[in-house]
């Protein structure tokens, strides 16, 4: 399984990269090489055969990770591992830390990038799901101009985003979680590190014992990550209870017709949506009610996340 031939470009600056991409995008078939963890398997199987690869690994300005009170800002070439192991991210947005720990295996995360995963837009991937749940903003640049897109608009369909041929994701901005914002992330995979058949993510806030806000989203159930706004609004004004979470899960499962494939049927995915909803709502509610102290650094082989 050897890839087809391509010409290789390794620019040192973003402007150079955009210049090359811009000129090639017109006639040739050019792709960005970020971490390569999604692209290279496809190339080895010859399912993807770009004539040109533009490697962003030397572009320092894309490798910056910064965390402040309101945001986690990841340059597109920041590795998943770096975000996973960042104490600042764990403090500001532990949902990110937790979810990223579910991406494949640590060897993949050492090279896989934030921008790469977002641009690849696999329907079962964790980062696109989080981007949609947290309404992340995605900075994009082309040769001529840049733009910023909300995550909810960015993912168009199966492995397809709003990115034009000559555009590159430069940065993804996730908001931090409020101190009283509870979060939950659960995914169902056959074995540790496998693609999620379904993943669920939620954030909630409570006031005076009732839900003040709630967001619930899934990956693996459609071509793009799916934020179920109406369903999550059922919770607003209500008190937490298993019955409520169960109802939310039931409605979530019926709100869409989930994908059916060799791994899981539509009904299987509906079962999982119900089950994972219960879990993430329970987790996020518990966290909202009892905010955890600043969590420590995630290391290789950190405590395994329980597979549901």
């Amino acid at each position: 399984m050897k890839p087809a031939k391509f010409e290789y470009h390794v620019p040192s600056t973003l402007d150079q990269a955009l210049e090359v991409l811009g000129s090639l995008a017109e006639d040739g078939d050019a792709k960005i090489l970020a971490g390569g963890q999604s692209l290279i398997p496809l190339m080895n199987m010859r399912l993807s055969r770009p004539e040109h690869l533009i490697d962003l690994r030397n572009i320092l300005e894309l490798q910056r990770l910064s965390v402040d009170e309101t945001s986690v800002v990841a340059g597109s070439m920041v590795t998943q591992r770096e975000v996973e192991q960042s104490a600042a991210v764990a403090a500001g947005n532990p949902l990110l830390t937790s979810a990223i720990g579910n991406i494949a295996h640590f060897q993949i995360r050492e090279r896989g990038t934030i921008g790469g995963s977002i641009a690849h837009a696999d329907p079962s991937a964790e980062l696109p799901l989080l981007a949609v749940l947290l309404d992340a903003t995605i900075d994009i640049r082309g040769r001529v101009q840049g733009r910023t897109v909300q995550a909810g608009d960015f993912f168009v369909s199966f492995l397809t985003t709003l990115l034009e041929e000559d555009e590159v994701v430069t940065q993804v901005r996730f908001s931090t979680l409020a101190p009283d914002e509870g979060w939950g992330f659960r995914e169902f995979a056959r074995r540790r590190g496998d693609f999620a058949l379904v993943a669920a993510a939620a954030t909630v806030r409570l006031a005076s014992g009732n839900y003040e806000s709630a967001r619930l989203a899934f990956s693996g159930v459609a071509d793009v990550p799916t934020l179920l706004h109406e369903v999550s609004q059922l919770m607003v004004g209500e008190q937490p209870s298993r019955a409520l979470w169960g109802e939310v899960g039931r409605r979530a499962a019926l709100a869409i017709e989930p994908t059916s494939d060799a791994h899981a049927s539509t009904e299987d995915r509906r079962d999982l949506m119900r089950y994972l909803t219960l879990q993430v709502l329970e987790d996020s509610t518990a966290r909202a009610l009892h905010p955890a102290p600043l969590s420590g650094r995630s290391r290789v082989g950190s405590d395994p996340l329980q597979l549901p």
Partner: protein, 159 residues
């Protein structure tokens, strides 16, 4: 069309010309003569091809050789001690019968080295979490976990 790359392999500086599409796994094995890194799947799942790039575990089948220009690569051959004895991880794998056919073994060694470098005293659950991305068809894995656990208890294991 080939490009010249310059990198360190197990501490030694190498310069080679290579076609861009040449996978790092093939490059290490054939162009550099280091056949200890094994190819099991070429789509990043089995982990037999695991090496260290700049000290971090990586699947060499998911990397083009050109991507290690100005980087450092460590393979299983780089675990060689001065007097050619087995290092603590290798020793414990030997003592615990943590290999049978040996094909997956270099990949496990490199992944386990990366694990212990960051987490010198992992729990069994943490070992499993870290090594679940390496496939073995022979051993049933328990002996590998035992070996890594035993190696972690030896103080010589240091980065």
């Amino acid at each position: 069309m080939t490009m010249e790359i310059s990198f360190t392999l197990n501490g030694e500086t190498m310069t080679r010309r290579v076609e861009p599409r040449r996978l790092l796994s093939d490059f290490l094995r054939e162009d550099c003569g280091h056949t200890g890194t094994h190819v099991g799947c070429e789509h990043g799942v089995c982990g037999a091809c695991t090496v260290l790039i700049d000290g971090k575990a990586a699947r060499s089948c998911l990397c083009f050789a050109v991507q290690v220009d100005n980087r450092s690569v460590t393979t299983v051959e780089g675990l060689r001690t001065e007097d050619d004895t087995l290092d603590p991880l290798q020793t414990e794998m030997h003592r615990h019968h943590a290999l049978q056919c040996g094909f997956c073994t270099p990949g496990f060694l490199m992944s386990a080295h990366a694990l212990l470098a960051e987490n010198p005293c992992p729990t069994r659950a943490q070992i499993v979490e870290a090594l679940a991305g390496n496939l073995c068809r022979c051993t049933g894995y328990t002996s590998i976990v035992d070996a890594v656990e035993a190696a972690s208890k030896r103080s010589e294991v240091a980065q």
